[in-house]
């Protein structure tokens, strides 16, 4: 659940059986826990990471043939993140990220409508 108070440093944005996404208000970062691994993302990195995952067409990947199609490598220059996902993991990560994105958007609306000093 979302915590509106500014005091909570860590808020779990979204959680599934596979992992979770946490927002760290103090360090201004997002933390992804997935497959037993913890990764830290600056805001811009997180947005880019989500974009690259969204840009992958899962259906194409499923129907694709040949070696390597069942493994996807996600990497961004300028960040230390390098992920190797199987198709199965990709589905899990996609679900996780879209859930987190929805909560981020909801939080934005709450900030705009309820917490803002401008009404």
């Amino acid at each position: 659940m979302l915590i509106l108070s500014n005091k909570a440093a860590y808020v779990t944005l979204f959680q599934t059986e596979k992992g979770r996404v946490i927002q760290d208000d103090h360090a201004h970062q997002f933390i992804l826990e997935f497959g037993g691994k913890k990764s830290f993302f600056k805001v811009q990195e997180f947005l880019q990471f989500k974009k690259s995952i969204d840009n992958l067409n899962l259906q194409d990947l499923f129907l694709g043939e040949g070696p390597g199609v069942d493994i996807q490598i996600i990497h961004h220059t300028g960040s230390e993140h390098l992920f190797v996902f199987t198709l199965c993991e990709l589905i899990g990560i996609k679900e996780l990220l879209s859930g987190a994105a929805t909560m981020i958007e909801l939080n934005r609306i709450l900030n705009d409508r309820l917490l803002s000093i401008v009404f």
Binding site: N6, V11, D25, H28, Q44
Partner: protein, 179 residues
């Protein structure tokens, strides 16, 4: 809970994507104008060639303007990949027709972003784009004026040559008195 994304950038994902798309469109315009400059040069129309060359440079400036705005707003500007540039435009008149059509497309794209910006309450982006609205108004006006030369003078005999001579004279509409 802080709104971390808003603290990082004032652009929504949608507006950032639309602006990056515009960066690409301006870059593409620049490349097409360059192709038009080459095409007119081959046909022997020096003034037109020079005119399109200058347009190409202008469009690049437009691209950089938007590119910088995205970055200044905390967003992530993307250096555009420009492909499928036509290298010929039928004939002399066809080139100016394509130029007008291209400007109309750019106007439509700008309008779309402004509408999206207002819808989201992103007045900074809407305000930033006001300059482009005026610019497009002027670009369409002058593009039509150039095309009118073809109707007024015609391309028979030395007509095409005369049109090319007239091209540098076409300018923006005179400012309204008191404006």
């Amino acid at each position: 809970m802080k709104d971390l994304i808003r603290m990082k950038t004032s652009l929504s994902e949608e507006i950032e994507a639309l602006l990056n798309n515009q960066v690409k469109l301006e870059a593409k315009s620049s490349s097409i104008y360059l192709a038009m400059a080459s095409f007119c040069d081959q046909l022997g129309f020096e003034n037109s060639s020079e005119f399109f060359f200058e347009q190409a440079e202008e469009e690049r400036v437009h691209m950089l303007k938007i590119f910088k705005y995205i970055g200044d707003a905390g967003g992530n500007p993307v250096s555009p990949e420009v492909t499928d540039i036509p290298q010929e435009f039928g004939n002399f008149r066809g080139t100016y027709e394509s130029a007008l059509e291209q400007e109309i497309e750019v106007t439509k794209a700008i309008n779309k972003i402004v509408s999206a910006a207002y819808k989201e309450g992103d007045h900074a982006t809407a305000n930033f784009l006001q300059w482009f609205i005026s610019e497009q108004q002027e670009e369409e006006f002058t593009a039509r004026k150039r095309l009118e030369l073809f109707d007024v003078i015609g391309t028979d005999g030395i007509g095409s040559y005369m049109i090319d001579q007239k091209i540098p004279e076409i300018g923006p509409p005179p400012a309204e008195p008191g404006a």
